[in-house]
């Protein structure tokens, strides 16, 4: 475990090597969330009623602000890195290390996620005084506990899903197009563009039980205190089952794929 924690620290240190990039990233990485907020403010202004599908303007802004923060823990990088490693032969370097490649990439991208989260969070703290009236502050201790657990499980799920997608490179060699297509679908199903309860009522329950909901939708709902504790706890159990299933799938795909690996390049 110590080695993974050290790699976590190592990649965090790497992130701070380039000062200008770090400072610029602090501002630039928050641009998309501001565009989203402006978009919804305009929607509410033109709507005139102040409520869209049960969401008041403060609910909507809060949903997207906290979702954006939580989404930094989606470890999409794991998938793209493993796919690149398989394609260009870089996997050879890590395959003969006495550690788990899955864990190595998890901690590497978790480190990156913490860095991105800190950047966004710091920036939010700086600008919150200017739009505090557009945010809700209903988080309870119970919800906070569930939220942290849900985020942790969601992070693991995202890593395992992206690893599975990345390992398609064992068969496809170039898996980028497939991965980007999946990225759009996964983002949509995780509530990145619109909250999942905007979907038809019959589908919401199924969508909430899908592993993608754990990335940001359910944590955001927990933050907004809009999810009963029991329901939240039950969903966490479902997500834990997903972790187990995805771990088994990762193991099967890795074992089959590694035999296909051609370790290209010198």
């Amino acid at each position: 475990m110590q080695k993974y924690l050290y790699s976590f620290k190592l990649y965090l240190l790497t992130s701070f090597q380039y000062r200008f990039d770090t400072v610029l990233g602090l501002v630039m990485s928050n641009i998309s969330i501001f565009i989203t907020i402006v978009f919804w403010l305009l929607v509410y202004r033109s709507n005139g009623t102040g409520v869209v599908n049960g969401y008041k303007i403060a609910d909507m802004v809060t949903f997207f602000v906290v979702s954006s923060l939580f989404r930094t823990f989606i470890l999409i990088g794991s998938g793209f890195e493993i796919s690149g490693m398989i394609k260009n032969g870089e996997l050879s370097k890590v395959i003969i290390k006495p550690y788990s490649i899955n864990m190595f990439l998890f901690w590497k991208y978790l480190s990156n996620a913490f860095y991105e989260f800190s950047k966004q969070f710091l920036f939010m703290l700086l600008v919150i005084p200017f739009f505090a009236r557009y945010l809700t502050w209903d988080l309870t201790v119970h919800s906070a506990i569930l939220l942290v657990i849900c985020l942790a499980i969601g992070t693991v799920i995202s890593h395992l899903i992206w690893m599975l997608l990345g390992m398609m490179a064992f068969w496809l060699e170039q898996a980028q197009a497939v991965m980007w297509s999946f990225a759009v679908i996964l983002n949509f199903l995780s509530g990145m563009f619109i909250p999942l309860d905007f979907f038809p009522r019959w589908s919401v329950k199924a969508l909430e039980m899908m592993p993608f909901a754990a990335f940001s939708y359910i944590p955001a709902k927990l933050y907004m205190n809009q999810l009963p504790f029991i329901k939240g706890a039950n969903l966490l159990l479902v997500y834990l089952i997903w972790v187990f299933v995805l771990m088994i799938l990762n193991m099967i795909v890795w074992r089959a794929g590694i035999k296909k690996y051609s370790a290209i390049g010198g």
Partner: protein, 328 residues
Amino acid sequence: MSIINAYNLSKSYRIHEKQEGVKNTIKDFFNRKYTYKDAVINLNMTIEKGEIIGLLGENGAGKTTTLKMLSGILYPTYGKVIVLNYTPTQRKKEFLKKIAFVMGNKSEINWDLPAVDTFRYQKLVYQVPNELYNKNINLLAEMLNVKHLLNIQLRRLSLGERMKMELINSFLYSPEIVFLDEPTIGLDLNSQIAIRKFLRQYREERKTTIIITSHYMDDIEETCDRVILLSKGRKIFDGSISEVSRLYSTNKVLQLVFDKAVNPLEFAKYGEIIEFKDNTLKLIIRKEQYKSIVTELIGQNRNITDISITNVPFKNIVNQIMAEGRIS
């Protein structure tokens, strides 16, 4: 005691072939053509503990593929490998802790941080005790003369310095077997010499088994006890460097030193002139003729002050074998 055993080791790759041009690209998109390339064919070899082995061969001869099968990166298509009593492709942790693989064209050290940060990580990955870690870092950095560079961001170092850091990274956990794939590729002469010296010295002290591939014959000649020549995936020779010369060199180098300027072309009838400077002429002559040529030259008044006969340099012999693809 042999620690690497390979039996009938073979590896073939499926290769996608495509003709040039737009039309062929479209055609290929719908109808892919694959061929199979045999990278290694029926390779048998045994390596003893503490040996330094040179794997030689032209580009595509199967050197790197062999190393990758021995280290567990690639599954053989046929055959069997046993390394340190393990099957490499099972990649057992105890096995992986005993081997190191340095790839001349792939860096393992974090580019954005000083090498010492990666070394610390390597220490944890390989569970190196503090005392041994400090001892090894000091020893290796001193042997490679890079102690003053350990805290400098890797990307700021020269190619040669970076390769030395890669070597430290791979040797710091005292592996029993080290695979070196083109460790001196692209390095200047001084760095090449330093690395060769390091390998020899390290092996003497630690009895580590080293398997090295290189296109620089000096790397092989100056570090290896034994060479394995591969050509088109097949082993064509396995033996000591002196044996290569004995078996394959049909020539000798004749060196004549004159006390005044001469016309070198007068000696072209004896063999191929390879060098003429400072009144010294070097010729490659047939091995079986050298006695008669020397007797003839001594008998004539040719202003010769010194005559010497040496073996043809190792690299010339290997190049000749590779060019002819001769099989032992």
